[in-house]
């Protein structure tokens, strides 16, 4: 299975993960500071700043795009509960 590497900058941990994993799954397991609420892409609690490697995340769905817009999320931000890792290297931290 293809692998990817996600670095959680706030806790200084890089995790090798299988492609297809959502950011929140890794974040929760590793104890990074990305908090979450609904896990359904609605509440925007898990807003995450993608420092680099944004292209290695699957593009946001229409729903995620709308929630990001509604919450005036700056460019380069994603919902950790929605963002799916597809490969390569990604660096993130809580928004």
């Amino acid at each position: 299975m293809p692998k990817a590497k996600v670095t959680f900058q706030d806790i200084g941990v890089s995790v090798t993960v299988p492609a297809g994993t959502r950011l929140i799954e890794v974040s929760e397991k590793v104890g990074a500071g990305i908090t979450y609420g609904c896990r359904e892409g609605e509440c925007c609690t898990c807003l995450t700043k993608v420092i680099s490697g944004g292209e290695n995340l699957a593009p946001p769905s229409i729903l995620e795009d709308q929630v990001l817009k509604d919450n005036m999320a700056p460019r380069g931000h994603r919902l950790a509960c929605q963002a799916q890792i597809i490969g390569g290297e990604i660096v993130v931290k809580p928004a």
Binding site: G12, V15, P18, V26, K29, A32, T35, Y36, E42, T45
Partner: protein, 423 residues
């Protein structure tokens, strides 16, 4: 002011503005978790402008008849141009599907986060959702000579909540904020019985976990000219309404003076049957202290009850829980404390677990699962030690404390791990 005992008719709370809610005097338990000694009310309001009528919130579904009877006493359905939903919880949106059938021309104004909830609420009716307009702070609706202005006040106590301000009259419709479960048909705060306990109890159980959002909302509300606050439960606050805003600010302000302002704080709670988990706690605390920059407090839960520690937990940056394992579980005082934390915000705090055990040692993992469930972050694997910790094992406890201190103070060394290795 004269008492205005509620009858079947609407009650005028300001010229052209009526209460059309419902009383539920026999309710004793609200949303399962909240007690109420004399019921509650579901407050809904009608605002009449020159060009239309606005309905602000509705009532719980089984009180819809009372709501419609009162509404019909002051407005015709065809006059309704505007429905404002300050909060979509079913006790305020229960009569909405029927209202939409009776006033299909009305436009619905709600917060952006309420949109998905509206669709979910209307699912059983099978009706197409009405025309709805997401609004935020400073968006307005002109009713003709009267302006409704919206305030984006999320998480009071759901993501969707907002307040609505009637500009020309200084009336603030607040949804659940400033509300309470207190049923009294004299309606107004200067005529009802003493509801101070209910007001504070409601804040403590409904709003306290969201206190940062309360303070954000208060910052939006304080500059307004407020003549009256019309919440969605309990008395209408027409006498000294600003006092209630001040009280909310007080309630939402941290309760403990933090003497360690510049330091991070770690609170270590433990229970120990034979002194082994206590020794672990002491070593962990010493390790956390040794790095500097972290103020550590050690509490034996046997010497206190869960409730009294809530303020401490709310203020702490990190929390560590030590429990022996008895009958394959953590001990009850730990669960009592962990189950009482839903009234404060612990999301994102650092969490850790440790404990000595005799033969199975499940407590640590169970506590860690609960901490993750409460949305604490648990970056350091907990420590389980069989029976009496020896010198090397106490060093491991000190190391756990040091690691927690590093996480609290941002001094963690970079690590590379494989997800498969994570629990």
């Amino acid at each position: 002011m004269a008492a205005a005992a509620i009858t079947d008719s609407a009650v005028e709370i300001a010229p052209g503005v009526h209460w059309v809610g419902a009383l539920d005097p026999h309710l004793r338990s609200f949303d399962i978790i909240l007690k109420t000694a004399n019921g509650t009310s579901y407050n809904s309001y009608v605002v009449r402008g020159e060009n239309g009528v606005a309905i602000i919130d509705t009532v719980k579904e089984n009180f819809a008849d009372d709501f419609f009877r009162r509404l019909e006493s002051v407005a015709k359905y065809e006059e309704i141009t505007t429905i404002v939903l300050n909060h979509l919880e079913p006790d305020h949106s229960g009569a909405l599907p029927e209202l939409l059938k009776r006033a299909p021309q009305a436009k619905v104004y709600l917060s952006s986060r309420a949109q998905m909830m509206l669709k979910a609420l209307l699912k059983p009716s099978g009706e197409k959702p009405p025309e709805y307009i997401p609004v935020t702070t400073d968006d307005t609706v002109d009713l003709g000579g009267r302006t409704l202005r919206f305030l984006h006040t999320p998480y009071l106590h759901w993501p969707d909540t907002q307040c609505t301000y009637l500009v020309e009259d200084g009336l603030l419709f607040t949804g659940d904020i400033f509300g309470c479960h207190f049923c009294d048909n004299r309606l107004f705060n200067d005529t009802v019985g003493d509801f101070r306990f209910s007001f504070e109890y409601y804040y403590a159980h409904i709003m306290r976990p969201f206190r940062e959002y309360v303070l954000d909302a208060i910052a939006l509300i304080e500059p307004l000219d407020i003549q009256l606050i019309a919440p969605a439960h309990g008395p209408v606050l027409r006498h000294k309404p600003r006092d209630y805003v001040h009280r909310y600010r007080e309630l939402a302000t941290p309760r403990l003076f933090n003497e360690a302002r510049s330091e991070k704080t770690l609170v270590v709670f433990y229970l120990s049957a034979y002194g082994n988990t206590r020794r672990m706690a002491e070593a962990l605390a010493a390790g956390a202290e040794s790095l500097g920059g972290v103020r550590v407090s050690l509490y034996d839960l046997e010497g206190g009850e869960a409730d009294i520690f809530t303020d401490l937990v709310e203020e702490a940056d990190g929390l560590a829980f030590g429990s022996p394992t008895i009958n394959a579980d953590a001990v009850k005082p730990i669960w009592d404390l962990l189950s009482s934390l839903t009234t404060v915000n612990v999301k994102g705090k650092l969490g850790a677990a440790f404990g000595s055990y005799g033969w199975s040692g499940e407590a640590v993992r169970l506590i860690e699962d609960r901490l993750r469930g409460l949305k604490l972050r648990v970056p350091v694997e907990g420590l389980r030690i069989k029976l009496v910790p020896d010198a090397g094992e106490l060093d491991a406890c000190r190391d756990l404390g040091e690691q927690l201190a590093r996480h609290l103070t941002g001094r963690v060394e970079h690590r590379e791990i494989d997800m498969a290795a994570l629990a």
